[in-house]
């Protein structure tokens, strides 16, 4: 595990406005998840909450390289993807609380946020369930010549699902503009992936003729640069791409997963949090490179915090859907 920002990397060609936008988006996801955790533990949020904390650099780095009209599919650990693709915080929180004003009118909840306006085809609570959907969206993009691409986010747990290999095969045969982004946070729910993954992950994709790269998923600039290249290749007709991001889930599988020492140590968690926090790594770099001083970054955080408080208040005050809405939206 590296413990500091890689100084050997060429100076970033991302302009400072964009860098600060990425930082802002990352802190937004971190604080969003803190609020989700708080709402959940105060019994204000029903159901389950799978937090994205620790993995922010992947969603932000990849989505920063996308066009607004590009597609994404997300996962049960999907709040970060939705926010990174441009979801409004107030409607996100409203959905998490099951309110009418939520993105899905309260019918989807935390694990199913979807939004056509930001190209979000939906978070999916079947592990690996959205791989066909992302690939199909890429088929449409190619057929209609829209120039769009589709990004399929999934975790290392989904590497065990056969669907991935079926659709990668087709995407490669048909040269579809889809990027499979694997967030390898080391754990399939409560099981270390050394127990679940045989062989080499990148080789699996390359076996289908899919170009595959790996990246430090805690380094948002590294993620952005490699994602940008893969997305441009896919958009230019180069077919599907595969990106493996090494990362870590700072919290449990879900909020209620408190006692975790039977599958991972507190020391391991602490090491990632102190040495490999994507926000700390990025803020340290921003200050060192004089892109922003600590005061500026604190201001960004304070602004985002205020925005989140407002969004939570909106969600809390919003009404639940009327019970007679239960059988609406079954059929279009």
């Amino acid at each position: 595990m590296t413990t500091a920002v890689d100084r050997s990397r060429p100076v970033s060609n991302i302009d400072s406005e964009q860098l600060l936008r990425m930082y802002r988006r990352m802190i937004m996801i971190r604080l969003f998840e803190e609020q989700a955790n708080d709402l959940y533990t105060r019994a204000l949020m029903p159901g389950l909450a799978h937090l994205y904390s620790g993995e922010e650099a992947i969603a932000v780095g990849v989505c920063e390289a996308l066009r607004p009209d590009d597609y994404i599919t997300s996962t049960h650990r999907g709040h970060g993807h939705c926010v990174a693709k441009g979801a409004a915080l107030d409607r996100m929180f409203a959905e998490l609380l099951g309110k009418e004003a939520g993105y899905c009118k309260g019918k989807g909840g935390s694990m199913h946020v979807a939004d056509p306006d930001t190209g979000n085809l939906g978070a999916n609570a079947i592990v690996g369930g959205s791989m066909g959907i992302a690939t199909g969206a890429a088929l449409t993009a190619k057929r209609m010549g829209t120039g769009r691409v589709a990004v399929c986010f999934f975790g290392d747990g989904a590497l065990g699902q056969g669907l991935l290999y079926e659709v990668m095969n087709m995407a490669s045969l048909w040269k579809l503009p889809v990027i499979y982004v694997c967030e390898n946070n080391l754990y399939n729910e409560y099981t270390h992936n050394s127990e679940t993954i045989a062989g080499d992950i990148l080789t699996r994709a390359r076996g289908f003729g899919v170009p595959a790269e790996s990246v430090d998923g805690q380094d948002v600039q590294a993620v952005y640069h490699i994602a940008k290249k893969l997305i441009e290749d896919a958009r230019a007709g180069g077919g599907p791409q595969f990106l493996l991001c090494s990362t870590y889930r700072f919290t449990g599988h879900h909020v209620g997963d408190i006692k975790r020492d039977y599958y991972r140590s507190k020391e391991e968690e602490q090491l990632w949090k102190t040495e490999r926090d994507p926000l700390t790594l990025f803020s340290t770099w921003l200050v060192a490179e004089k892109i922003a001083d600590a005061q500026k970054l604190n201001q960004i955080e304070a602004d985002v915090r205020a925005e989140i408080e407002k969004a939570v208040a909106f969600a809390m005050e919003s009404p639940y859907p009327a019970a007679d809405k239960v059988d609406q939206d079954i059929y279009a």
Partner: protein, 333 residues
Amino acid sequence: MPETQTAVRELTIGEAIKETLAEEMRRDPTVFILGEDVAEAGTVYKVLSGLVDEFGPERVLDTPISEAGFAGVAVGAAMTGMRPIVDIMFGDFIGLTMDQMVNQAAKIHYMSGGKWKVPMVMRATIGATRRSAAQHSQSLHAWLCHIPGLKVVMPSTPYDAKGLWKTAIRDDNPVVIFEDKMMYRLKGPVPEGEYTIPFGVADIKRPGEDLTIVATSSMVQVALGAARLLEEYDINAEVIDPRTLWPLDEKTLIESARKTSRVIVMDEGYGRYGVNAELASVIAEGAFYDLEAPVKRIGAMHVPIPFSPPLEDATVPTEQSVLEAALALCGKS
């Protein structure tokens, strides 16, 4: 002979399906077909033969043998502006697509609060007696009838096949069409050109007063044959085809049951927990006080479909078995 714009020809069900797909693909460039051996092979029953010549391999797209994968691709394509038709070679293979159909296609509209739509059609087969054994002969349509968000269509005539297929392709929801593999060569009148049949409207295939036989797909012809046999016993049977299992035209079934007071329901799926159970229940709830006898269910025997012909033939309802059940129901056995 005067010129007419809606000449009526005799077509087989297979020909009617192919004509409909061709018309819809000409009308709407977003309609395309994907599945195993759909292009040059035209599927194993040759129903799609020739379509690739007119529409090309991108719109009649041969896939790998990956039912889950291409069903999932269809869901994503449908959400983003295409109207895919997913061809499942044998209905027995829908098990491989179940997550995509049940957890994805059926639920995306609801889970997204009505924002995403999934306008796709899946076609699959039902029907035994083709000596294809336990994994190529089942009638598993009840599985999909169980899921809110899906529509399930079962045409029994060439005319119905064309009208129902047009409606399915134009529907903004996932629709599953089950075709009886033994009926592709059944002939019947089909008007040229444009007509649609709305979902949720049953068709009275034969009017009668003494007994109602509700029959689906492959069982419609069996029911009509039994009805002809029943004439000799002065029993005039009404045969009703629901045509779509969901939405279901409950009203027509109940009205017929109230009129005749005796009902047989016939579907080639398994009897237990199946389509017959639902049809019988709808009728019992809606016409209980008008019934002279309990609703009789006739379906496939509750066994895996065997290979050996005398064994397989014993698993499916026949005109004779319907006749016997009808006579018993009418107190004439």
